[in-house]
């Protein structure tokens, strides 16, 4: 297998090669560690590369395979966003405040993937505490977009997006409070799933905003996300928001026929200010879905324009979490994050309550719409990845995003590649579904990826 083919292979293909003894997890891990050593000095996806741990995990997986162990994630090399605790390995949250922090226990998600046989390659850079991109002079370098290094890879799961796009890991963990899994998926040309609120545990993951934070998988295909979700999903008594809803058969549902699937397109809000190239790619994706037998129709969510009130909730909760540290040690916060966190102190209690009431109305309307359609489809981002220069220029404000409505509603949402802008930057489609119906969302994403090859394009690294 050629090097590029090997490092971009999917979970099912790798597992089959492992079991046929055509490839060993040790060989794959060594190939990825060599690629990380070659590419990461300029891409900055990894904060910590755990080479010794990776080699030990790979050898253990190889031994298990020889014993006939057929678990689907056995020997699959992963990167973990650096806000997931890992026992004995530092977890920085991309922040000077936590630069040398070492957790005593694995987060539940890391523990579940490691128990499923995954290989830990290392910890992936995150925007500072999942909200503030690192500016020049910050303790940590920001990850670069492999498609164009002057552009951001998306955030806050920036290292996860970069590492997957550059073929430096097979799967990754991200977190998503306002789009931090789906944004990097969109800008880096990979796939990210924000599951239903409560579907995957947040125990051992740094908090940004309790009522909006989600954990979830990132990969290069919907199929690989399904494999990862299968291991991640399930009740965790150590996360008070964790659901007891039974876990679906995400992998088994992938190949069920798409014919008759009803796709709703909310034209308001999600296309506001969208680049024509984004709209064209989205419309082409809907044409593909019609060709696959889906029914596509416009739908209306009357309160969708209320979704910017999301920031009242996120900033207020972020300030509640960070108040002591940001008051006592403000110098340890990056320039961009500090003022964002402090802004959360400026909302009144009444404003927080009103924002929560708007949220509930919006959530109810989205659930109503999902009685008449099976999934909602939108562009993930109205524009392709912005430049670092634009992100660092505070006069330009916070970029508009199509992802927060699904954090407000807690609905599962998948981002997947659907084309490229003329500048060579990836474009992305967002599919959202009913609560705990990740199986349908992933099935719709998988069917699209069986009919298109956008997710198989490689950046020029």
């Amino acid at each position: 297998m050629a090097d590029d083919e090997l490092v971009y292979a999917g979970i099912r293909d790798l597992g089959a090669r492992f079991r046929k003894r055509e490839l060993s997890p040790v060989e794959l891990t060594e190939a990825l560690l060599a690629r990380i050593a070659r590419l990461d000095p300029s891409l900055h996806a990894f904060v910590t590369v755990t080479s010794d741990r990776a080699r030990a995990d790979a050898k253990a997986a190889e031994a298990a395979l020889l014993r006939g162990d057929a678990r689907p994630l056995l020997g699959i090399p992963m990167g973990y966003k650096d806000i997931y605790d890992t026992r004995g390995i530092r977890t920085t949250a991309g922040s000077a405040l936590w630069a040398d922090r070492v957790a005593e226990a694995d987060s539940t998600c890391v523990a579940r993937l490691q128990a499923a046989g995954c290989v830990m390659l290392g910890k992936l850079i995150t925007h500072e505490f999942a909200w503030g991109i690192q500016s020049p002079g910050h303790r940590f370098e920001p990850a670069r977009n492999p498609w164009h290094r002057d552009h951001i890879p998306g955030g806050s799961s920036s290292g996860s997006g970069t590492a997957l796009a550059a073929g430096m890991c097979v799967g990754a963990l991200g977190t998503d409070t306002g789009g931090s899994i789906r944004g990097p998926a969109s800008f880096s040309g990979i796939v990210g799933l924000k599951p239903t609120y409560g579907r995957c545990s947040r125990r051992g993951v740094a908090t940004l905003s309790w009522t909006l934070d989600h954990t979830g998988p990132m990969a290069r295909s919907a199929e690989d996300c399904a494999h990862l979700l299968q291991a991640l999903a399930g009740h965790d008594p150590l996360d008070p928001a964790s659901s007891r809803e039974p876990v679906g058969d995400y992998v088994g549902a992938l190949d069920r026929p798409l014919r008759g699937l009803r796709i709703g397109v909310p034209r308001d809000f999600f296309f506001d200010g969208a680049d024509p190239e984004v709209t064209r790619a989205f419309d082409a994706a809907m044409t593909t879905y019609r060709g696959l037998g889906a029914e596509v129709r416009d739908v209306t969510i009357p309160s969708i324009w209320d979704s910017p009130s999301f920031m009242v909730i996120m900033a207020s909760e972020a300030f509640a979490y960070h108040e002591r540290d940001v008051r006592e040690r403000p110098e340890l916060y990056g320039d961009l994050l500090r003022e964002r966190v402090l802004s959360g102190a400026l909302y009144t209690g009444a404003e927080y309550v009103q924002a929560m009431r708007l949220r509930e109305r919006l959530r109810n309307e989205m659930l109503d719409v999902l009685r008449s359609v099976d999934v909602l489809a939108t562009p993930t981002s109205p524009k392709p990845a912005p430049t670092f220069a634009a992100m660092w220029d505070v006069s330009l404000g916070f970029p508009r995003s199509n992802t927060p409505p699904f954090n407000l509603s807690g609905l599962p949402a998948l981002a997947l590649p659907c084309g490229f802008a003329s500048a060579g930057l990836p474009l992305s489609l967002q599919l959202a579904g009913r609560p705990f119906d990740e199986a349908t969302v992933l099935r719709a994403g998988h069917a699209y990826q069986q009919a298109t090859d956008w997710h198989r394009r490689r950046p020029p690294v």
Partner: protein
């Protein structure tokens, strides 16, 4: 309710007991202005939703907690 002004941001910061860098006040003003725009449009007395509120769901945990 009108747009949030720079003076309104400074007044809110003083009430909260925090100091914003002067060159970031405009950034914070924009954040607040965009976030509060939907609240300025709403009629709080006409809305039926009440959140956050304690609710109890028969499908909750074994001990009745959510």
């Amino acid at each position: 309710m009108n747009e949030i002004t720079l003076d309104e941001v400074r007044r809110r910061a003083a009430v909260a007991g925090i100091t914003l860098r002067e060159d970031r006040v405009e950034m914070v003003r924009r954040l607040l202005n965009d976030a509060l725009a939907p609240l300025r449009r709403m009629d709080p007395n006409a809305m039926r939703t009440m959140e956050p509120a304690a609710t109890f769901d028969a499908r909750g945990g074994d001990d009745g907690r959510r």
